[in-house]
Assembly symmetry: C2
Homo-oligomer: 168 residues x 2
């Protein structure tokens, strides 16, 4: 697997699984009927934010994608954030972990002092466990913060990790 | 004191104290050098979001302002947020409390199930105490989340309150 900068042509490979994940409404705070143009503008970011894809080196298939960006401005502009989508057809082979490690490396290299995830659905236990294994902590949970289509209201975690910046 | 919908002409009264508060860099996650046009577009919101001003009924002076808006989309779209600016020249006469009560009423009337403040600076103890007195809890604190100009890195609170909706 290789992680590289997303280019405009990658969107056609991203949208089918992006749409599948958002339409399921179980893990993301996007409208389930999010249309493709709006999705593209929300996901394919411009500098200083970035969007990458994880690609199978043999087939060239896009396995997943991540975007990374500042999470606050002003006095909190040292906190980054990131979002992830992994094609369910390629789950279980470490794509999410590789993307997570990548964005943490990006944030450190850019001099961010922390990374915050604003809305991790409590019932998305695989994601919660993955982020914990990468050093994130749940700093707070919004009770009944997310309406899951089958589980009803579940908590919405805010996860956070301080980073050792590469730069002094 | 009266709270009413902000109109375009109110901005000229808002900007001087808005600018003073943001330039001080002690309480808001806005860039300290935020320019007036960007500030106006970030503060003077369109429906379904709203912006109001608190006005002295005798003199007509603008004492403070609040904006209120959805905080998330999709499965978390039942969570509102709000932001407040009170003219320091009119501090201590309950303007912040009145605006806080107003936005909670708005959120209930609109059917939101919760209100979340994403970034309350820990050292802004008056604000923290006010929001607690209005029913908010600190659900989490981002350690070293805010760089205060004189105190250095301080925590950044996420505050949250579930609401009893007016509508069934």
């Amino acid at each position: 697997m290789m992680i590289r900068e997303a280019v405009a042509q990658d969107w056609d490979a991203v949208w089918p699984f992006f749409h599948q994940i958002v339409a399921a409404g179980e893990t993301y705070t996007y409208p389930r009927d999010l249309d493709e143009e709006r999705a593209r503008s929300m996901w394919m970011l411009q500098p200083p934010s970035r969007t990458v894809v994880a690609v199978d080196e043999a087939s060239g298939a896009v396995l997943g994608t991540a975007k990374m960006n500042p999470n606050h401005m002003g006095g909190a502009s040292h906190i980054a954030s990131a979002s992830f989508m992994v094609d369910p057809a390629h789950a279980g082979r470490g794509v999410g972990r590789a993307l997570g490690e990548y964005v943490l490396g990006w944030a450190r290299a850019e001099g961010y002092r922390a990374m915050q995830f604003n809305a991790v659905v409590e019932s998305n236990t695989r994601a919660v466990a993955l982020w914990k294994s990468l050093g994130f902590e749940i700093v707070g949970t919004l009770p009944e913060g997310y309406l899951h289509p089958t589980l009803g209201y579940v908590g919405l975690h805010i996860m956070y990790q301080r980073l050792q910046a590469d730069r002094p």
